[in-house]
C-alpha cells in the first residue's frame, strides 16, 4: 500500500510527457544552439566590442583619433565588422531551419515517425513540445547575445561617451536604434521559425522541406515585387510607392520575414524620406504598430501550423508533398518572378517561354523524382503560364480594371492636391503641396487630368514637359494618387490656378520659409546680363547688402504675389527678360562657411513682380 502511494506520488511529481519530449528534442538540437550562440555573438556584440576597443586604443595612443567618431559606425575597419555581423546574424537566423527540422524530424524522416507517434502524447502536445523546445533553443542564444550587446552599449555610454564631446555621444545615440533592431530581429526570427514549421507540415521529405521551406519566405515578396513592376511599367499614372503609407505596404511589411525586414527598416530608421508624411501610431512608419501586426500574423501562423499538423498522418511522412497546393503556389511565384525579370530586360516571348519551361520542368522532374510524368508536367506548365498570362493581359488591357483611365467627378471630391508642384511656366523649383477645396479649382484639375489621359490615349502623344502628382481625397475618405509627365496642353489648363488665393498663400509661405532658413545664400541671376551669374551673397557676411534685405525682399514678394492677376502672370511668361533668385540652403553647414552640399531652390522674378524688381534695383542687383 505504502509502495503504491509512493509510486503514485512519484508519478505525480514527474513532469508531463510533453516536457520530457521537449527536453529530448532540445538535446538533439543542442549543437545548432551552440552554433547560433557563436554566430549571434559575432553579430552585434562583436561589432560593439570592436568599437569599444578601438576607442580605448585611441584614448591611449592618439586622443585626436577620437574626434572622428560621430557615430559607432565611424570605427576604422567598420565595413569588415559590419560584414561579419551581418553574415553572422544571417547564419544565426538560418540555424532556425535546422532547429525546426530537428524538432519536427518525424515529418520527413520515416525512421522516426512511428517511434514518435507511439509516444504517450497528443498531437497538440507533440506540436507545442516541438515548437517551444525549438523556439527556446533558437531564440535563447539570440537573447543572451543581445543582452550582452545592451550591456556593452551601457558600458560604452558610461565609459567612452565621457571621453567624447557632448555632440558625439555615440553610444547614447546608438541605443534607440539598437533596441529597435534587437526587438525587430527577435520578431523576425520568431516569424521565420514559425513560417518554416508551417511549411514543414506541407512537405514529407527532407529535400523538399529545406528547399520549399526557404522558398516560402520569398512567395509574398515576389508577388509584391511583381505587382510593383507591373504598375511601374504598365499602369500609366498609377502610383506604387515603396515607402508610402499604403495598405499594401502595411500588409507586405508584416506577412513574411523578408517583408518584415523591410517594415523594420521603414519603422526603425528615421532618415526615410517620407517619414514626415504621417506620425500616427497606425502608419507604416510606426514601430509599435509594426510589432503588433507582426505578432498578430505570427500567431496566425502558429495557429495554421497547428491545424495542419493535427491533420498530418504517419503515412504521409516520406511523400514528397503532403499538399500539392503549396508546391503550386511556390511554382506560380517562381514563374511570375522569372517572367517579370525577363520582361524587365525586354526579352521577347520565345525566350520567356524557353526559360520558364526549362525551370518549371526541372523543378517538376525533381519533385516527381524522374521524368516519367513529363507530359503531365508539360500540361501543368501550360496551365500555370496560361494563368499568369491571362492575369497579366487582363490587368494591362483593362487598364488595371479601369483605374488607369478613371478620373473622378468634381462633386465626389473633397479636396484635390498638387503634390510637390513647381507651378506653371517653369518659374522655379520652390515646390509645394497645393491643396484645393473650391469646386471650381477641383474642376480645373480634373479637366487637366482628363486632357492628359485624352492626349496619352490618342495615337500620337506630344512631348511631355513636367512631372506632376495629383492626390484626390474623396468625400468618402478614400485617397487616389496619380502621377504623370504632363503634356503641354493639359499643363496649360492649370494656369488659372496660379492666381488662386490658396496657391498664392502657399507660395508666399514656401518662399518665406525658405528665406527664413538659417544658412541661406542668395544668388541673383539676370537673364540679360550674365555678369550677375554665379555670385553668392552670404547674407550675414556681406556688408554691401542692407541688414533688412531678407525681410524687405519677403515683403515685396508677398505684395507682388498677392497683387498678381492671371493675365499679368501669363503676359510675364511671354517675356524673356527676367531675374532669377537662387536660394541655396545648406542644412549641414556650420558658421559662416560657404555651402558645401547646398540644396538649391530657385524662382524667377517675373516682370509683373514690380515691387520686388524695384527693390532689387535699389540695392543694385538688377
Amino acid at each position: 500500500m505504502t509502495e503504491a502511494v509512493e509510486a503514485n506520488v512519484r508519478v505525480a511529481k514527474k513532469p508531463p510527457a510533453a516536457v520530457h519530449y521537449g527536453k529530448m528534442l532540445a538535446k538533439r538540437n543542442m549543437k545548432y544552439a551552440v552554433l547560433a550562440l557563436f554566430m549571434n555573438f559575432i553579430g552585434l556584440p562583436l561589432f560593439l566590442i570592436h568599437v569599444i576597443s578601438e576607442c580605448i586604443i585611441m584614448k591611449n595612443i592618439d586622443t585626436k583619433g577620437l574626434e572622428k567618431f560621430n557615430s559607432v559606425f565611424d570605427a576604422s575597419d567598420n565595413t569588415i565588422y559590419i560584414l561579419i555581423a551581418v553574415i553572422g546574424t544571417f547564419v544565426a537566423v538560418v540555424t532556425g531551419v535546422y532547429i525546426a527540422m530537428g524538432s519536427f524530424s518525424h515529418l520527413y524522416d520515416k525512421k522516426l515517425v512511428d517511434m514518435e507517434y507511439s509516444l504517450p502524447l497528443t498531437a497538440d502536445g507533440r506540436y507545442f513540445a516541438g515548437f517551444l523546445s525549438g523556439l527556446t533553443l533558437y531564440l535563447g542564444p539570440y537573447i543572451i547575445c543581445q543582452i550582452i550587446s545592451l550591456i556593452l552599449i551601457t558600458v560604452g555610454h558610461v565609459v567612452i561617451d565621457k571621453w567624447l564631446e557632448p555632440s558625439q555621444q555615440i553610444f547614447a545615440d546608438f541605443l534607440p536604434l539598437a533596441v529597435k533592431l534587437i526587438i525587430g530581429g527577435f520578431i523576425i526570427m520568431l516569424m521565420f521559425y514559425t513560417l518554416f514549421v508551417l511549411t514543414m507540415s506541407f512537405c514529407g521529405s527532407k529535400f523538399e522541406t529545406t528547399v520549399y521551406g526557404m522558398g516560402a519566405n520569398f512567395c509574398l515578396p515576389v508577388i509584391y515585387a511583381c505587382l510593383f513592376v507591373l504598375v511601374e511599367e504598365n499602369g500609366y499614372g498609377l502610383v506604387f510607392s515603396l515607402s508610402g503609407d499604403t495598405l499594401i505596404n502595411q500588409l507586405f511589411s508584416c506577412t513574411s520575414p523578408a517583408g518584415a525586414l523591410y517594415g523594420l527598416y521603414m519603422s526603425a530608421f528615421e532618415n526615410i524620406d517620407h517619414v514626415a508624411e504621417s506620425d500616427s501610431f497606425f502608419s507604416v512608419y510606426s514601430f509599435g504598430f509594426w510589432i503588433i501586426r507582426c505578432l498578430a500574423f505570427t500567431v496566425l501562423l502558429v495557429f495554421c501550423g497547428l491545424k495542419l499538423y493535427r491533420r498530418r498522418k504517419a503515412e504521409q511522412t516520406g511523400k514528397i508533398f503532403v499538399s500539392k497546393t503549396f508546391y503550386y503556389v511556390v511554382m506560380v511565384c517562381l514563374m511570375m518572378l522569372t517572367c517579370t525579370f525577363l520582361d524587365m530586360i525586354d526579352a521577347k516571348l520565345a525566350p520567356i517561354i524557353i526559360i520558364t519551361a526549362v525551370i518549371f520542368l526541372i523543378m517538376d522532374s525533381i519533385s516527381n523524382r524522374g521524368v516519367k510524368k513529363l507530359h503531365i508536367s508539360l500540361l501543368k506548365y501550360i496551365a500555370v503560364m496560361q494563368g499568369i498570362f491571362i492575369v497579366y493581359f487582363t490587368t494591362v488591357n483593362t487598364g488595371f480594371f479601369g483605374a488607369v483611365n478613371n478620373v473622378p467627378e468634381a462633386w465626389e471630391i473633397k479636396c484635390a492636391e498638387l503634390v510637390k508642384y513647381n507651378g506653371y511656366g517653369y518659374v522655379g523649383s520652390l515646390s509645394g503641396n497645393y491643396r484645393f477645396e473650391d469646386e471650381q479649382n477641383i474642376q480645373t484639375i480634373i479637366n487637366a487630368h482628363k486632357k492628359q489621359l485624352e492626349i496619352h490615349n490618342s495615337m500620337e502623344p506630344e512631348g511631355s514637359v513636367e512631372y506632376i502628382k495629383i492626390k484626390y481625397t474623396y468625400k468618402s475618405g478614400a485617397v487616389r494618387t496619380r502621377e504623370y509627365y504632363i503634356y503641354e496642353p493639359a499643363f496649360e489648363m492649370l494656369l488659372p490656378l496660379e492666381t488662386v488665393d490658396e496657391i498664392k498663400a502657399e507660395k508666399i509661405e514656401a518662399i518665406s520659409n525658405t528665406l527664413d532658413c538659417k544658412r541661406v545664400y542668395i544668388c541673383i541671376e539676370n537673364s540679360l546680363d550674365s555678369t550677375y551669374n554665379n555670385r553668392y551673397y552670404p547674407y550675414e557676411k556681406t556688408s554691401s547688402i542692407p541688414k533688412d534685405f531678407i525681410p524687405k525682399l519677403k515683403e515685396c514678394l508677398t505684395k507682388d504675389i498677392n497683387n498678381m492677376s492671371s493675365e499679368d502672370y501669363a503676359d510675364s511668361l511671354e517675356l524673356t527678360d527676367y531675374v532669377t533668385i537662387k536660394i541655396s540652403v545648406d542644412y549641414n553647414a556650420e558658421g559662416n562657411e560657404e555651402p558645401k552640399e547646398p540644396y538649391y531652390y530657385s524662382f524667377q522674378i517675373l516682370s509683373c513682380y514690380e515691387n520686388t524688381l524695384d527693390y532689387l534695383s535699389s540695392v543694385t542687383f538688377v
Binding site: 569588415i80 526579352a347 525566350p351 526549362v358
Partner: protein, 742 residues
C-alpha cells in the same frame, strides 16, 4: 572461356542498369545541351531568315557593317540562355556520377552492389563508362546538330552577305569547333574529378559539397599566388596571359583552369606577348608548346584526365564496403579543401581590413562550422580548434617566410650581365615617351645589357634604402633571358630618376636604332605614314594627291637616315615650342591619308634631331610648328603655371612635373578649372587681368621661346600653358620670371 564471356556480359548488364537509373539525367542533359549552342544558332538563323523576308537587301546594306559576327544578329538573351543551359548540362554530371557510384555513399545499396558477380575493376569501369556516356552522348549529339546548323548558315546566310561584311558563319566555325572540342574535354575532366572525389567521401552531403568544392581548390591556390605576387611583392611579375609554366599547369589541372586555358587558345592574337611579336613582324607566331596552342592544351588536358582516372581507379579499389556511411574516407582530402578555403578567405578579408583580427574571426567561424558539419556535431570542438590553429599557423607562417625572405631572394635578385643572353625592355616607349611605338626592345650587346642591370640595381637600392630621390612618373618592364634559357621578369611602377637616367644611352645604341627602324619598316608597309599632328591640328586629313606617289617611302628613307645618324646630344639637346610636328601611321585607301585610328602604333615627334626629315617635309611646305604668342594671346589664356625644376637628375623636361615645385600660377579665375585643379593656386597667384602690358609681352616672349623635349644640366623654370605639358624656359628669362614671382 565461357565464364569470361559471362563475366563481361555481367559488366555490361551492370553498366546498362546504371545507365537506366541515370536516364532521367541523360534526358535533362540532352534538353540543356540542345538549349545551348544549337538553340543559339537556330535563333541566329531564324532571325536572319526573318530579316531577309521582311527587309530584302538588308544584308548588303552598307549601314549594317556592324554585323561582323553571329553575336550581332540575335538577341543577347539567347546567349544568356545558351550559357545558363550549358552550365546546367555540365552540372548534370554531378548527379550522373553520384547515381553511377551511389554505393559509395548509400548504405542501403552498398551490400547489394558488392555482392554482384563483378570485380572492383569491372564495377569501376562499368560505373565510370556508363555514367560518362550518359553524360557526354547528349552533348556530342547536340554539338553535331550545331555543326549541321553552322553548315546551313554557311550555305544560306553567308551567301546573302555582301559588301565589306565578314562571312559570319564561316568565321564563327573555327572558334565553334574549338569550343565544342574544348567543352567535351572539360566535361570529361569535370566528371572524372567528381568520381575521384567521390572515392574520398562516404556520405551524400559530403560527396555533393566537396565534389563540387574540389573544382575550386587549384584555382584558389593559383589565385592566391597571383595575389601574393601582384599585390604584395616588389617588382615580381605574374601575368595571367603569359606563356609560363604556372599558366600551363593551371590551364590543364582543373576544369575551371581548363576553361581559362581554352580561352587563351581562342584568341592568341589578343594576348600581350603575341601582340608584340606581331609588331616585330613575326605575324603572331607561337610554338606548338605555348600556352596559346589549342593542340597542346588538348594534349595536356587529356593527360591530366587520364591521371585523374588512374588515381580514381586506385582509390576505388582500396574502398571497402564498411567505409560507405563514414563522412570522409581520407581526411587528407578534407584538410586540403579546408586549407584552400582558409587561404582564399584570408586573402579576401585581409584585403578589405587592417590587422589580423578580422581575418582570424572570419576564418575561425567558417572553419569551426565546416568542421562541426563534417563531424556531425560539436563534441569534438577542441580538436577542431587545434586543427584550425595548425592550418592558420601554416598559412600565416608561409606568408611571413615568403614576405620576409623577399620571395626567397627573388625580389632583390639582379642577374649578372655576363650570364644574360638578352635583356628586353617591355612596354617601353623611349626615354621621352614620345617614341615610334610602345613595345619591346631587345638588347644582346653586353654594354647595353649592363645599362639595364645597372638601372635595375639602382632601382632596388633606392627602394631598399627608402631614399626617395624622386620618381620619373613612369613604369617599366624588364625581361632577362639567361644563357641557360631561364627567363627573369620584373615590373616596376614609378621608376626612380637615377635608374631611369641609366637608360638614356640606350636610345642611340645600334640595337635600339635597328629595332626602331625594323618597326618603322613593318608598320609603313602595313599602314603607310601620315602627318599625325601639325601645329594645333591633330591628324590633318591631307589629300594624297598633294603628295608624290612615293611620299611615304621617301619619308621613311629620311627618317631612317636621321635615326642612323643620331648621336646622344642630338637626341637629348633639341626641342620645339608649344606644338610640334608629329608623324604617325595611317591607313591608306585610294583617295587619301586617313587619320590613324587612335594612333595605334604611336607617333614620331620630329625635333631638330631629324634634319633630313625636316628638309623633306619642308619641300611640301610642312614646317615645324612653333607657337608664337603675342601679349593679346597671353591675356586670353585660361591659365599658366610656372614651376622651378631641379636638374640634379637629368630628366627630360616633358617629365619635369614630378620633380618640380609650382612657383606661380597666373590665371583667369573663371576658366582656370578648365585645365587645372583649383587646389594648385597657392604659392603666388596672379590674375591675368592684373598683369601690366609689359608683363604680358614678356610672358608672350617666354611662351614663344619655351621648348619641349630638352635635357637640362642646371636648375631651371618650366611653363605649362592652358594645361599643356611642361616646357623648358631658357635660362636668359630667369630674371624676368623671378621679378614676376616677387
Amino acid at each position: 572461356m565461357t565464364e569470361t564471356i559471362k563475366i563481361s556480359s555481367a559488366t555490361v548488364h551492370y553498366g546498362l542498369s546504371l545507365a537506366k537509373r541515370n536516364m532521367k539525367f541523360g534526358i535533362l542533359a540532352l534538353c540543356m545541351n540542345f538549349l545551348g549552342l544549337p538553340m543559339f544558332l537556330i535563333a541566329v538563323l531564324a532571325k536572319a531568315f526573318q530579316i531577309r523576308a521582311n527587309t530584302p537587301g538588308w544584308f548588303i546594306d552598307e549601314n549594317t557593317y556592324y554585323i561582323v559576327s553571329v553575336f550581332g544578329i540575335t538577341d543577347e538573351i539567347y546567349v544568356f540562355i545558351a550559357a545558363g543551359c550549358t552550365i546546367a548540362a555540365v552540372l548534370s554530371g554531378v548527379f550522373i556520377a553520384m547515381n553511377s557510384f551511389s554505393h559509395l555513399y548509400d548504405k542501403q545499396r552498398v551490400d547489394m552492389e558488392y555482392s554482384l558477380p563483378l570485380t572492383a575493376n569491372k564495377r569501376f569501369l562499368a560505373g565510370y563508362l556508363s555514367g560518362l556516356l550518359t553524360y557526354t552522348l547528349p552533348y556530342i549529339f547536340c554539338q553535331m546538330i550545331s555543326l549541321i546548323l553552322l553548315l546551313a548558315g554557311r550555305l544560306t546566310v553567308d551567301t546573302w552577305v555582301g559588301g565589306l561584311q565578314a562571312e559570319i558563319f564561316a568565321s564563327f566555325t573555327p572558334m565553334c569547333i574549338k569550343l565544342i572540342f574544348g567543352g567535351l574535354i572539360i566535361m570529361v575532366m569535370f566528371y572524372t574529378l567528381f568520381v575521384l572525389t567521390m572515392c574520398f567521401c562516404g556520405s551524400r552531403f559530403e560527396t555533393g559539397a566537396y565534389g563540387v568544392g574540389a573544382n575550386f581548390c587549384l584555382p584558389v591556390i593559383y589565385f592566391c599566388i597571383y595575389w601574393l605576387i601582384t599585390s604584395r611583392s616588389y617588382g615580381l611579375v605574374f601575368r595571367l596571359s603569359d606563356d609560363t609554366v604556372i599558366n600551363h599547369l593551371f590551364g590543364c589541372t582543373s576544369p575551371i583552369g581548363a576553361i581559362c586555358g581554352l580561352y587563351l587558345t581562342l584568341y592568341p592574337e589578343n594576348w600581350d606577348r603575341a601582340f608584340y611579336t606581331v609588331i616585330r613582324g613575326a605575324a603572331g607566331e607561337y610554338s606548338f608548346f605555348s600556352v596559346y596552342s589549342f593542340g597542346f592544351w588538348l594534349i595536356k588536358c587529356l593527360a591530366v584526365t587520364a591521371l585523374l582516372i588512374f588515381c580514381a581507379y586506385r582509390l576505388y579499389r582500396r574502398r571497402t564496403a564498411e567505409q560507405t556511411g563514414k563522412t570522409f574516407i581520407s581526411k587528407s582530402f578534407y584538410y586540403f579543401v579546408m586549407f584552400c578555403l582558409m587561404m582564399i578567405l584570408s586573402v579576401f578579408v585581409s584585403e578589405s581590413s587592417t590587422g589580423i583580427i578580422p581575418t582570424l574571426i572570419v576564418t575561425a567561424a567558417v572553419f569551426l562550422i565546416m568542421d562541426c558539419v563534417s563531424n556531425r556535431g560539436i563534441s569534438r570542438l577542441k580538436s577542431a580548434v587545434l586543427k584550425y590553429a595548425v592550418i592558420m599557423v601554416v598559412l600565416i607562417g608561409g606568408y611571413l617566410i615568403t614576405d620576409k625572405t623577399g620571395y626567397f631572394g627573388a625580389e632583390d635578385y639582379v642577374p649578372d650581365a655576363g650570364e644574360i643572353k638578352s635583356a628586353e625592355l617591355v612596354d617601353y616607349d623611349g626615354y621621352y615617351s614620345t617614341d615610334w611605338y610602345t613595345g619591346t626592345y631587345r638588347f644582346e650587346d653586353e654594354y647595353n645589357i649592363r645599362r639595364i642591370t645597372d638601372a635595375h640595381t639602382m632601382q632596388l637600392d633606392e627602394y631598399n634604402a627608402s631614399i626617395d630621390s624622386g620618381r620619373a612618373g613612369y613604369s617599366i618592364g624588364i625581361k632577362y633571358t639567361m644563357k641557360n634559357g631561364a627567363e627573369v621578369k620584373r615590373d616596376y611602377y614609378d621608376v626612380y630618376y637615377s635608374a631611369y637616367e641609366e637608360l638614356l644611352p640606350l636610345e642611340v645604341s645600334d640595337e635600339m636604332k635597328e629595332q626602331k627602324l625594323a618597326a618603322l619598316k613593318t608598320t609603313v608597309e602595313d599602314k603607310g605614314l601620315c602627318i599625325a599632328s601639325h601645329g594645333t591640328e591633330n591628324y590633318p586629313n591631307l589629300n594624297k594627291n598633294t603628295y608624290s606617289e612615293d611620299f611615304a617611302q621617301r619619308l621613311t628613307e629620311c627618317l631612317t637616315e636621321d635615326i642612323n645618324a643620331m648621336t646622344i646630344d642630338d637626341y637629348s639637346g633639341h626641342g620645339f615650342g608649344n606644338d610640334v610636328l608629329s608623324i604617325g601611321t595611317g591607313y591608306l585607301d585610294d583617295k587619301s591619308y586617313v587619320s590613324p585610328s587612335g594612333a595605334y602604333y604611336g607617333v614620331y615627334t620630329i625635333t631638330e634631331a631629324y634634319p633630313k626629315t625636316l628638309e623633306y617635309l619642308s619641300s611640301y611646305g610642312i614646317e615645324p610648328y612653333n607657337a608664337e604668342y603675342t601679349a593679346a594671346d597671353i591675356a586670353a589664356l585660361d591659365g599658366i603655371e610656372l614651376r622651378r625644376v631641379t636638374a640634379e637628375y637629368r630628366i627630360p623636361v616633358s617629365k619635369s612635373w614630378s620633380a618640380s615645385e609650382t612657383v606661380a600660377v597666373i590665371y583667369d579665375p573663371d576658366n582656370y578649372g578648365n585645365h587645372y585643379e583649383y587646389s594648385n593656386i597657392h604659392p603666388k597667384d596672379i590674375h591675368i587681368a592684373d598683369l601690366s602690358e609689359t608683363e604680358l609681352e614678356e610672358l608672350a616672349e617666354i611662351a614663344s621661346d619655351a621648348v619641349n623635349y630638352y635635357i637640362p644640366d642646371k636648375d631651371y623654370y618650366s611653363i605649362s600653358i592652358d594645361g599643356g605639358t611642361d616646357m623648358y624656359i631658357p635660362e636668359k628669362y630667369n630674371d624676368i620670371i623671378e621679378s614676376i614671382i616677387s
